[in-house]
Symmetry: D3
Subunit: 318 residues, 6 copies
């Protein structure tokens, strides 16, 4: 693909001319009675909305979510959000980049590499109870685990985000174990790998992610806790044995506070550490994303998951 500017790299007022993916399309009727399309364009730099006025029935058929288009327009702002005033629109030509996957953000690592890295960590889980539960559950949910996002929005909300977030925590965990030798490394690693696995049932999938009924009524913490119980039943592990109780505690407590949905607060050193590393990686990812979208010397958008704070991007020479 020739080096074109991307959606979020245009300044307000600038002319835009680029390829983009139609992420969502809604047909609406304007006050003058004519139909128009409410479009969301996407590429790896982000998303922007625009209105396609006076859409014919052919336009409605042509511009469907998932198609790649060539867009020319003008970058504007509407009520504080970026918007494009569409000047022309057409589907991608045969000789243009038209693979939707090229326009979608995904994890910086390939699924195969992530799987390899996690397998290496599993070798370090020397306790056989934890090792076998982890392997059974990863194997059961393998495909979803390496493609699902880690969230509907906020941090790691991209394809493969769940596995990538897990790997980031494992990397942090390795360093922490090296620095504080009294930490039970196998327990921390097993907890880290499983902590968000319930999201493969809580969320609907890697695209147009929503919460499932199970997600809303049980939550990913109790979902994965139930998965661990099922695994123990299958492996004939005693639910009341200490290794099982410790591992379940790691998952149940990982949100840190009851208010955040953990039914118990951390009561093990390793559970406290897992909770804090989870928060650390999620925060860094969110702030990195937000800062990249912010001009030097400016504050970015308010981040809901950071209590509504906006963050400053220092001037370039810092």
């Amino acid at each position: 693909m020739a080096e074109e500017k991307q959606l979020m790299t245009f300044a307000v007022g600038e002319q835009m001319n680029l390829m983009a993916l139609l992420k969502s399309v809604t047909v609406r009727v304007a006050k003058n009675g004519k139909q128009y399309l409410d479009l969301t364009f996407e590429d790896r730099s982000g998303e922007i909305t625009g209105k396609f006025w006076d859409a014919s029935d052919d336009d409605v058929k042509r511009y469907q979510a998932g198609r790649v288009v060539r867009l020319t327009g003008k970058r504007e702002t509407y009520q504080g959000s970026p918007q494009v005033k569409i000047l022309s629109l057409r589907l991608a030509n045969a000789d243009e980049q038209s693979d939707p996957a090229e326009f979608v953000v995904h994890a910086p690592l390939k699924a195969a590499d992530m799987e390899e890295e996690i397998n290496q960590v599993i070798f370090e889980i020397t306790d056989q109870v934890w090792n076998r539960i982890v392997r059974l559950l990863l194997s059961k949910h393998r495909e979803a685990f390496f493609t699902y996002p880690a969230a509907k929005r906020n941090h790691h909300a991209f394809e493969g985000g769940l596995a990538y977030h897990t790997i980031s925590i494992l990397r942090l965990a390795h360093n922490v174990v090296a620095q504080y030798p009294n930490i039970n490394a196998p327990l921390l690693y097993a907890g880290a790998i499983l902590h968000d696995l319930g999201k493969v049932i809580e969320l609907s999938g890697p695209v147009s992610t929503t919460y499932t009924v199970e997600g809303n009524l049980l939550g990913h913490i109790s979902i994965v806790d139930g998965e661990i119980v099922s695994a123990c039943n299958e492996l004939k592990f005693d639910l009341n044995s200490e290794p099982v109780v410790l591992l379940r505690h790691m998952i149940l407590a990982h949100h840190g506070l009851l208010e955040y949905g953990s039914p118990v607060r951390p009561r093990l050193l390793e559970a406290e550490v897992l909770h804090q590393l989870d928060e650390l990686d999620a925060s860094i990812m969110m702030l990195t994303d937000a800062t990249e979208k912010t001009a030097p010397g400016e504050f970015g958008e308010r981040l809901f998951a950071m209590d509504g704070r906006s963050f400053y991007r220092p001037k370039e020479n810092e």
Copy 2:
């Protein structure tokens, strides 16, 4: 047993002479170097502490927790708590009431009657998924369910309290179902029967009740949720089927608020009702207990589980 006054019915300053159970005995050394016994006496009216000074080694052997004694002394108050100044103490004679069970508070219903009443309710759980899970789990934990208290302290903290609290909620639930016909009765009854069943693992047993390691690290909500998952595994029920998800939600949400340890808040009418009926029965039991120990025209002791409030007992003629 001849009609004697009971422990808590003596006024401060009054002479006491009655049979009582030694609930706990601790041997301590006084500042003068002699050993003494720190005793807690119990009968169905409540508990009171007293010190037995200058205890001989024979006394230490004689006065052990679980023995019934004849106590004479004087009712006093020490730092706001009732206390008895012991004047004499001896073990119960052969012709005196010496069965410890006669001095312990227990549920107002017999275990057999409670079991019969719960079995009747199970007939009304017409959904076969819920019915079979309930029966399997009740059968698995039958003995503990009918003997455990509902709590370490606070409400229904007596032998059989767990089953009695469950029955009280079921009675309330029947009336609510009759008044509001859109409530799903089988779901409400199944949830009510199982909601606190995890306490048979969270707590150590009917006497000298403490929290187990599982209780502290998992909590009774996740414990019973795990039991339901195990039951489904055994019964070959699909964990993702709606009846199973709904039943798990009933249990997970029954504390009402995340701050109180529910990993999800009620999102079903029946889950909200179960939470409120649980709170209603627990409150009435606690306030009934507290009021009975309070003189007319006075406020009773502060109740930790009611946010530290003390409650007023109106004068007799109300």
Copy 3:
């Protein structure tokens, strides 16, 4: 009335053709300078808004709030809320249903039946102080009590809702009294009847309900407390006598928490029970309403008075 579909029973995109009440009408000017009407239609299934474009002056005179109309249109959604795209509109013919009362939600019981039921309860208030205060105040505010809603929105926000909510609590209270005999029934019933009576002054009336100045500056709790004081003055009851103090406490404490506007928290068993039954009936009513408007297998709208939670309606076969 022939069996027609009602406002809220049409699916999005479906053609609508039915009689409805104009609940509110606002004349506005469109950006093209022409006037249009912003209409809210109502029947017993709920409410929906629609815009009547290019309204002539005759239209403005014709379509006034309170008139019954025949509406044809198409069911749409605008920013998440139901809306009708109006295709035609005319006033009801002489042979069509045109009584506004037929389109308005009201209590499921007739005022006369509610009055009879409450009178029966008053016989059970055997304490003469409470009995006479209740009768004096019900008699003073009789008409409003049986026609006012229980709230501006949220629960029981329909004509007669205040009395109906009161009766529902009394029914719950009867069952609770039967199950827990130590509760002072006359005190609980007297408190239940009076607890929300202040709303007849706090709210403006059964239609287009708003808060009055007294409602905003005093609140219905202090309003009814003042009414009780006035009743005592009239009946020559000593304000410092225990029955009066207990009854005032029942009303003052019924919101349960200071944060919810009670100047004191419940300090009597009966006050705690009244608070919880009030909450129980209000919750069930709100959730019943919300669930009825939700499709099976879906979550309904967020309920402000339930802390913003949305509730799930299980699939039909549950």
Copy 4:
């Protein structure tokens, strides 16, 4: 009275020899079986406790609360609280100061002067509704109003404290009215005079002050609100007229926050001002008391009513 040092002016370790009032006396039995007296001594500088060992029956009769004694002893500290080790004790001689009133803190103004100052303010309440309500209620509770403390402990917890606190607020209010002329002065003054008047029923009296049953079950806010309603009934004022509603709002809202027991928050400029002046005067009084008991360069005791903060007394040369 010759210039003697007072109770709180001795340093730890210093010999004490002075007259003091026995504020409270409790007879206890020591571990050696002998009775002793737990005494609290008081003078205008504060209070201190001490133990009188091996008390004879004569001692018990002699040293009763309310008697003035000559005390010699040594100033000590026990668990962070001041204490006196008693060396000798005897009742006051005929030629010594033995009037208990000389040892009790009271308001810095005489009752007659306070009454005169409040009467002057009443002349400025030009609205006749407010003027007559204020006069009727002050006249009804005149004696208690000028002798009661403003609180059981914390601020103005001395004889006459209620009236003195009221006057302090009125003085602040005069200055505020002069600086901000849009404030409705008569409303502010009427609210200030009545705001804490309910304490004459909420509290038991000027000495050994406790909460009454009415105080616990209704609270002083609703008590005085009821008094205003009664006054209106007697004066034939319409409870729904605006002046009455405004005055009741002033009282109901004066704690500022629902969490502090106001059933409504201030919704009038004057109600907000009254709330803040109430807090300002109470804070200054508490901090003045606390600072006086603190050595220069030290932090004083933690003040419960100031959220547990302790306050610093700067070194003398500031």
Copy 5:
């Protein structure tokens, strides 16, 4: 200027014809593709917005922020906010009032008078450390101090508001010092003068006020604390000497609560008083403004800085 009605004194529906300042101008494109101007008009009575449709390029050049215009139109309401439907618009003639300063709200006192009043107070700061720090910092930031507003919005958000708010607090402080003689007046005055001085760096200036980067990253409390440290460095005052520590504490603690941005809570009587007087003056100013914009017998708009409360303006005859 002939006595004309002002912007906020027209009733809804009334014809408007008056001079006003263009406070802000935004060029937008309507759905029909034509450009229009989104205007905010201002005079001393307040602000109102209006749309100028079909704006030519000449109109865009002509109507710039800061120009004075003659406006005729009709007073309307749009989504609860006041709005003007513009009928005609032109720039001010040579013989009309065209000085923007005449249309902008500013402090009720002239800068020179405020400076004089503050200088008088400085004479009363008899401690030389505090006196010299105050004089150095006031001199350094003199121009900004007398022109900046006290806030971006909410209270004293007008030119000179910072100095005026400071003077109001000083006037309150004088009265408080007179009434409570144990207050350290020089410390209170020095703290009052400096408490908000950091706003001259936190805010961008008197017009179109925004937060600076320093304002967002440091906050005005730490900014002025740093200024005091710099002043001490310049004046060779020891940072660890008690007068410096006390003065810094006055500023650091003046928001009263950690949640409001004070790094320490008040631990000095004077710091507590400063905090409360700051709040008192700010509240009275906000409520005075809000009440002036409210019709008698109505509640005004919700005030964000008063926790979202709206305030009542009593009917005229009160």
Copy 6:
């Protein structure tokens, strides 16, 4: 020192015989009138208290805080806390270990090694503004920085704890920088080194640590912020330049929440990371300490700084 058991390694009831440091000594008078010593013994395993009865005046002179003694006694428990019943006591012989430093906990690294490690990090602070401020302030407070504890109690409350905590954070920071390359490493390192430096003024010193007046009135955050300002004044750095503002923000925001004493919340990625690493290291240190004092299979003492939670030490075979 021959391998002896240490203070905290004896079981309840076991005989103790070992060398220990007298950490504190208080002379008290028993109820029988004789003086006794309230002693706290310390070695590197922890602290335990004991009473030395019937102390002669010689004993009082002999057993002073700071002396090393040989203690024989019996390990007991008093109200849940460990206690030793003293059987014999004497000062250390000439041939016994009598260097107090051998009995005191200190940082696991030597001061010289810590200084070397921090100097290495300073080389990585490539921004000259941050580099010079850090060097100036470390040089100014060098001695205290390497000897002070990081807190009065809770985490790193030992000699050298402040520097050791700083180094631990720097080690974590290095790993985080390696994993997330967009983090500004020099800013993070500079912030980490200075973040708690204010404790050298907030706390009184390495032994018997208390809060100073500056500590109470300013807090260590504002203290070090003032130190940075002073450094800038000395180095002629502009307080309004971005590097200075960013560095001050790092320190001001490092407690993360306003409620924890930060006057501003983190608004920079690096500030958020510093806050989380600070919390992570402090938590791991506290939990490591607490777990070491807990028997396998038990929960330890409640930790105030971890919201009162107690932590579980798994059984040995985990």
